[in-house]
């Protein structure tokens, strides 16, 4: 610890802290312009100059000067004030005073400091810049005439995002922030530069001329896109969201946001939002009253229940619902309808979470990823799937010099910084992990003590792994033996290694196996804290924990423990395990009445033709959604639901953290929060539910699931289980010579993003990517329309040809209208579980 004196008061701080950090700790404010705690200090603007009295008198920048023993600092002497005022005068030489029409006014650091230091006149004068305003770039408007060259946008784009879209161009008086050859922005559009810009040089096009900052009501809530659950603040004016910015330094995102968080909320104001309940009359959906719609639903649920039995009914919820809503939904299905036929998101999501709970006892952790010294990015195209987690990887690698091992079937953005880039045959990641485990055991790189004290199943697991010799791994994955050995050594020798896995990119039925194979690696080296399993949706975790699963009650209790639930719910519960979403859309489906809440199986399940057939044959289809989706259009009854900003509740993020969402708006039209709809439906069904708030539901959840809100961590016991690599790739033949890989896309996530004009405006058209060699041999030109055909169906897409993709593989990212689902096979039911396959395709000229 170091002792220094600031403004007459002594303070002790850690070595390596800056004067600014020490002052902040004491509650002394020092103004800054070029400083941000997330970035490395540069000391460029000099507005934070403070006076040193001892040992060597002078002025130093507080943000870039480290504390030293016995330092005596004064932060607000006349000299300091005078210097700061002069700096402001110099900045104001060419900064235009167009504050009345500047969207930053009200939260502009330069404006605030000019006011604070009373700069009413300027002793200096000079030429004002007259650069053309960039109104061509989407989402972000750049008016560089207002730029003060603090460089924060340049640095956050480089240090955190690793995009480096802009840099300092030119020098001296002519210097400006710009792109190469002054082209418009063509970046990830994360919008981080907007939030960090201290002046009005970078502003949001969505906010342009729509309000003044001080008119906005600020609502701190949780982003509803991916499973990270970033904290953000919505700026609301007269019932419209106009802005979002990252919030809360203690949250997982540390004030950072990605393009979806910054710009993707617009769907909530989409003109096609459902505003009234709809009922099918004479083959057409017509608007009716809530009373009529609800009573009709109840009447027909009852009819099927009485005629065929409760197991002819089923409910599929969405991993976008709040915990409270999922909880009530499954309670309604189980206690109200009387069946365990309940699932969510095609049943994809929870397999990996299940494996984590069983073998690690907690869902993994993301928050401290940036402190790792080795990161294995396993099938995790993070800049597309979870960009904010990608920031942590960038920080670990670029700032912390962590060794990065990228294991992916195609090169990703992070590959450029990778110590090793292992490009393996799609679907063979388990073989790769087993191969690494074998090397570690063989070379005695494992943590014996940890294995003995804190794990079970080592012998059986190592027997399985022993078969994965470097040669066998090479045969299965195509990765060279030396590379596998090097990766194993790098990982095993690291002190704080981490494995990152993006959920939902393995063939169906593989996620839990992949997670277990990764857990084996983490546990034998004694690193149970180093697993980050990133789920797809905002509440994938919650949907699983709250019991939207056919075989488990809330809190992951088996059905045989239903007694306690029966007592609290005051109803008898069915004991028979229910059907999963995959069962429901199976050929032999016996479901007659289906209640879908926020779920669109036509977009989420493979083989949309069969899914549609099952839906058409239903006697009753009730859909609850924000939009008239393809499936809602087929429904008999449609309930208009409220979106994330129109309701209250909690989401559980990928780490198991329960985070609140707060209503920023009142629901559009007659739309109602899912919680209200479900409870009223249940009440009418004869199963009483009455709650005045989400908090009341939460209280009930806590009664049944005591550890609901508790922080989750490794509790000292882990399970090792040997996992064999399954043959997951379909046969490669002359008719289907290419392996289809499925990739994420940062602009989209599920079905809501396509109603956000901001996101659809910047995302490219749906494409299939293929290597230039494959394109050449198939006589395909980049940019043309092609047909991608599998054994199950086909889709028409634009082709993008590049040199990065390995030969023999094509990549389709999850664009809303990619037709990806047409190509995928229905999973097979084998040995009590569903097994999907990676399919092979042919690409032909359209």
């Amino acid at each position: 610890m170091i002792t220094l004196t600031i403004d007459g008061r002594e303070i002790q701080v850690e070595e390596g802290a800056t004067i600014l950090q020490a002052a902040e700790k004491m509650g002394i404010r020092i103004p800054t312009l070029c400083h941000d705690r997330r970035l490395l200090p540069v000391g460029a603007c000099r507005i934070c100059l403070v006076e040193v009295e001892n040992p060597r008198p002078g002025l130093v920048p507080a943000c870039a000067t480290l504390v030293a023993e016995g330092l005596v600092i004064k932060t607000a002497t006349d000299k300091v004030k005078k210097v700061r005022k002069t700096i402001l005068e110099l900045l104001l030489i060419n900064h235009p005073l167009d504050c009345p029409v500047c969207d930053k006014a009200g939260e502009c650091s330069l404006q605030d400091l000019t006011y604070e230091y009373g700069v009413s006149e300027n002793r200096f004068s000079g030429k004002k810049a007259a650069l053309r305003i960039d109104v061509v770039s989407p989402l972000i408007e750049r008016n560089l005439n207002r730029c003060i060259l603090c460089g924060k946008c340049v640095r956050i784009c480089d240090e955190l995002m690793d995009v480096a879209e802009t840099g300092f161009i030119g020098r001296g008086y002519e210097a400006r922030v710009g792109t190469d050859f002054d082209r418009p922005l063509d970046c990830e559009f994360c919008g981080q530069c907007l939030d960090i810009c201290p002046v009005g040089a970078l502003t949001s096009r969505l906010f342009k001329h729509r309000g003044r900052v001080w008119e906005l009501e600020k609502v701190e809530t949780t982003c509803a896109y991916c499973g990270l659950g970033c904290a953000f603040t919505l700026g609301v004016k007269r019932g419209k969201i106009l802005k979002a910015r990252g919030a809360d330094s203690s949250s997982i995102n540390d004030e950072n946001l990605c393009v979806r968080g910054h710009f993707g909320w617009g769907y909530i104001h989409h003109p096609e939002r459902l505003t009234k309940p709809l009922l099918k009359k004479e083959g057409r959906l017509v608007a009716v009253s809530w009373k009529e719609a609800l009573h009709e639903a109840v009447r027909r649920f009852r009819q099927i229940k009485e005629k065929v039995g409760p197991d002819a009914l089923a409910g599929i919820g969405s991993p976008r619902l709040t915990n409270e809503e999922v909880y009530l939904f499954q309670r309604f299905i189980r206690a109200g309808l009387g069946t365990n036929n309940i699932d969510h998101a095609g049943g994809y999501g929870h397999a990996g979470l299940s494996a984590l709970k069983d073998s690690l006892g907690y869902p993994g952790t993301v928050k401290n990823l940036q402190d790792s010294d080795c990161i294995l990015l396993l099938r995790s195209d993070l800049s597309e799937t979870h960009p904010v987690a990608g920031i942590k990887v960038n920080l670990a690698v670029k700032r912390g010099r962590a060794a990065l091992i990228v294991a992916n079937p195609y090169p990703i953005k992070f590959s450029r910084h990778a110590k090793q880039s292992l490009i393996y045959r799609p679907g063979n990641e388990i073989a790769l992990l087993n191969g690494m485990v074998r090397v570690m055991i063989e070379e005695n790189l494992i943590n014996r003590e940890f294995v003995n004290t804190s794990t079970s199943g080592f012998d059986a697991m190592s027997k399985v792994a022993a078969a994965y010799t470097p040669d066998k791994v090479k045969e299965l994955t195509g990765v060279e033996p030396a590379a596998v050995i090097e990766a194993a050594r790098t990982y095993a020798r690291a002190e704080r290694p981490a494995i990152v896995i993006s959920a939902g990119y393995a063939p169906l039925g593989e996620d839990d196996r992949l997670v277990q194979a990764a857990i084996n690696l983490a546990l034998i080296t004694g690193n149970p804290e180093g697993i980050a399993y990133l789920v797809e949706r905002n509440n994938s975790s919650g949907a699983f924990w709250m019991g939207a699963v056919p075989s488990l009650l809330p809190g992951r209790q088996p059905l045989k423990n239903k007694g306690e639930f029966e007592e609290v719910w005051g109803a008898a519960l069915p004991g028979k395990e229910g059907m999963s979403a995959l069962d429901i859309f199976n050929e032999q489906s016996v479901i007659r009445g289906l209640y879908l809440v926020g779920e669109n199986p036509l977009a989420a399940c493979p083989d949309p033709v069969r899914t549609r057939q099952v839906l058409e044959e239903l006697e009753l289809l009730v859909v609850q959604d924000l939009f008239l989706t393809e499936v809602a259009a087929m429904a008999d009854i449609v309930f208009p639901a409220a979106g994330f900003a129109e309701k209250e509740g909690t989401y559980t993020n990928t780490e198991g953290r329960v985070q609140e969402i707060k209503p920023a708006l009142t629901p559009v039209g007659e739309a109602r929060p899912d919680l209200d709809i479900i409870s009223e439906l249940s009440r009418l069904m004869g199963h009483e539910m009455s709650y005045s708030s989400a908090a009341e539901v939460r209280a009930e959840i806590k009664k049944l699931v005591p550890d609901f809100e508790q922080a989750k961590a490794f509790e000292g016991k882990g399970k090792l289980v040997g996992i064999e690599q399954r043959d997951v790739v379909e046969e490669i033949s002359k008719d289907y010579p290419l392996i289809l890989m499925d990739g994420g896309l940062r602009f989209h996530s599920g079905s809501l993003s396509r109603y956000s004009s901001a996101l659809t405006g910047v995302s490219p058209e749906a494409r299939v990517e293929m290597s230039s060699l494959d394109a050449k041999s198939n006589e395909i030109e980049g940019g043309r329309q092609v047909k991608v055909r599998s054994r199950y169906g086909e889709t028409l897409l634009q082709v993008a040809v590049n040199d990065r993709l390995p030969q023999g593989r094509v990549l389709i990212r999850r664009y809303p209208k990619s037709g990806l689902m047409n190509l995928l096979p229905q999973p097979e039911f084998k040995d009590g579980r569903y097994e999907g396959k990676i399919c092979t395709v042919k690409v032909v000229k359209a």
Binding site: E165, T166, G167, F168, I169, G170, D180, F181
Partner: protein, 151 residues
């Protein structure tokens, strides 16, 4: 063209592994075409593992790099102290108006490139303009136009 590409390849392979080699690479790349084009700079960035914005930022920092092909004739307008007080600004303005270019740009027909320089070392002739290797002194805004007619 092939010859030029090979040249760039040679330069890149020579410097690829060397840290801090951006400026020499840019200098040699410029020597091939006479300027730095967008594809050349993208290629340099890709091969050296740098961001394009970094490469462009460094290149624009130094006056020695050009981003458009040079004209047939280089017109250097002296802005040294003597020329400055004798009206170099007016000479520049007149020249640029006449050629319809900004300072440092090349005319649409590719005939002239204007440049602003600091002292050509013949202050007694101020204000001075140099076209290629030829020096013209005691100019006025009219005279300078006539000078250009010779080319």
């Amino acid at each position: 063209m092939l010859h030029k590409e090979q040249n760039l390849e040679t330069v890149l392979s020579e410097y690829k592994k060397e840290q801090g080699s951006l400026i020499p690479v840019l200098q040699r790349a410029q020597a091939i075409d006479g300027y730095l084009s967008k594809p050349v700079m993208s290629r340099v960035a890709g091969e050296l593992g740098l961001y394009e914005s970094d490469v462009y930022g460094v290149a624009t920092f130094y006056t020695q790099f050009r981003f458009a092909p040079l004209g047939e004739n280089i017109v250097k307008v002296c802005h040294g102290t003597a020329c400055h007080v004798s009206g170099a600004e007016e000479i520049s303005d007149s020249l640029c108006n006449h050629l319809k270019v900004e300072e440092g740009e090349t005319t649409a027909d590719g005939k002239f490139t204007t440049e602003r320089v600091v002292c050509l070392g013949c202050c007694s002739l101020a204000p001075v303009v140099m076209v290629n290797e030829e020096t013209y002194g005691r100019l006025t805004s009219d005279k300078v136009k006539k000078v250009l007619d010779k080319y």
